[in-house]
Symmetry: C2
Subunit: 194 residues, 2 copies
DNA sequence: ATAATAACCAACCGCTCGGTATGTTGCAAG
DNA sequence: CTTGCAACATACCGAGCGGTTGGTTATTAT
């Protein structure tokens, strides 16, 4: 990797972390510059504006991370148990920063979706992709599931509940409420089976 | 009501609307001053700082509004149907601004819970109150419900899912996803009965 | 040897923000 | 009649923000 590309990747990584911790608007470029030990000129050489940097972080850091994390549990033999194991292990592995900072995608959705159209469309696209992955997994085992299930509706329901659960852990500052919601969500998911 | 109290109430109302629309940090005091047609001196006569104004909005506007909205469907004869009717009517009555702006409590939770302890504790208290209302309603009809239900867990699950549903409507900018999640949530709630 | 370009750096700019210090007005008590 | 306080208004402050401008350096092509 060239020096320039290395610099760019470093900016993206640091910016992703800052945005995750403080949100997009509250993320200060000067903090990113300090952490990367570069000047403002360097940042504006690689990115034309703060918001373009935000878009790049979304597309090049958050999106691949997200798709990668969800793909494994959904492509396993039994996606129902895959999902439940995945969600349960989330509650165990959840670091302190994740309890406090929440999910990057959900955070950006809350903060930016109604302010900036560029962010909104990217977030929407990501949510639709995630939903489609769930739908695909459910359809793959539709024989094992109850009749009359609206797969897309179920998918969005699962995603919504998970987001709401991270929201609850922000205010309680511990995993307990999150774990409870996830436990109940797993009950719901397992009840999808016949 | 005295003139001074009138001024104070006016500030609270306008601030509540601004915070709902733009979040706490992005809410500008000067905008509030313009809308209220008062000076900065007037605002700082009634409130010692921006954050104290925020607390006052939470306690004197959001909290009573919230408790009032939830009490009705939960104290009805059949809280299961009360809840479902309540949620369904939300999807119908939902104004355009509510689709875009989301729930004030959830917004503040996402934005401020991990930044300011004063907000965090107030939000947590509100969430616990809401959960307790749901738990009380469920216990009142526990004879009609399935065995082995963890009422508190169910309460937080419902709240979490509702919050997640409003989040989804922010990115899609329409009611459709919200309606789907609520529809699935009602299926879940009705399935609590034997 | 020189010209051009990529990859930066340092200094500065206008703007908005929350907050403060001081000034003013009207009314009510003594 | 004046004193005093409640209820404001006006003007200003420093800090931090995103963004711009004008260099500077090292590498590469001619």
């Amino acid at each position: 990797m060239s020096d320039a590309e290395q610099t760019r990747q470093n900016i993206l990584t640091v910016a992703a972390d800052e945005i995750h911790q403080h949100g997009f608007k509250a993320t200060s470029l000067s903090v990113i510059l300090n952490r990367c030990e570069i000047s403002k000129g360097a940042l504006y050489y690689h990115f034309t504006s703060k918001i373009e940097l935000g878009y790049a972080v979304f597309e090049e850091v958050y999106t691949p991370m997200f798709l990668n994390v969800w793909q494994t549990p959904l492509t396993v033999d039994d996606p129902i148990e895959g999902l439940c194991d995945f969600l349960t292990s989330m509650t165990e592995q959840m670091s302190c920063s994740e309890v406090v900072c929440g999910c990057p995608l959900n955070n950006l959705c809350e903060e930016m979706a109604n302010v900036d159209e560029g962010f909104r469309l990217r977030i929407l696209c990501m949510q639709e992709q995630l939903n489609q992955m769930i739908v695909d997994a459910l359809e793959r085992i539709r024989g094992d599931l109850r009749e009359n299930l609206a797969f897309s509706q179920v998918g969005y329901f699962i995603v919504a509940t998970l987001n709401g659960a991270t929201s609850l852990s922000k205010s309680s500052r511990n995993k307990l409420l999150f774990q409870q919601v996830i436990a109940e969500l797993c009950l719901y998911i397992r009840a999808l089976k016949k």
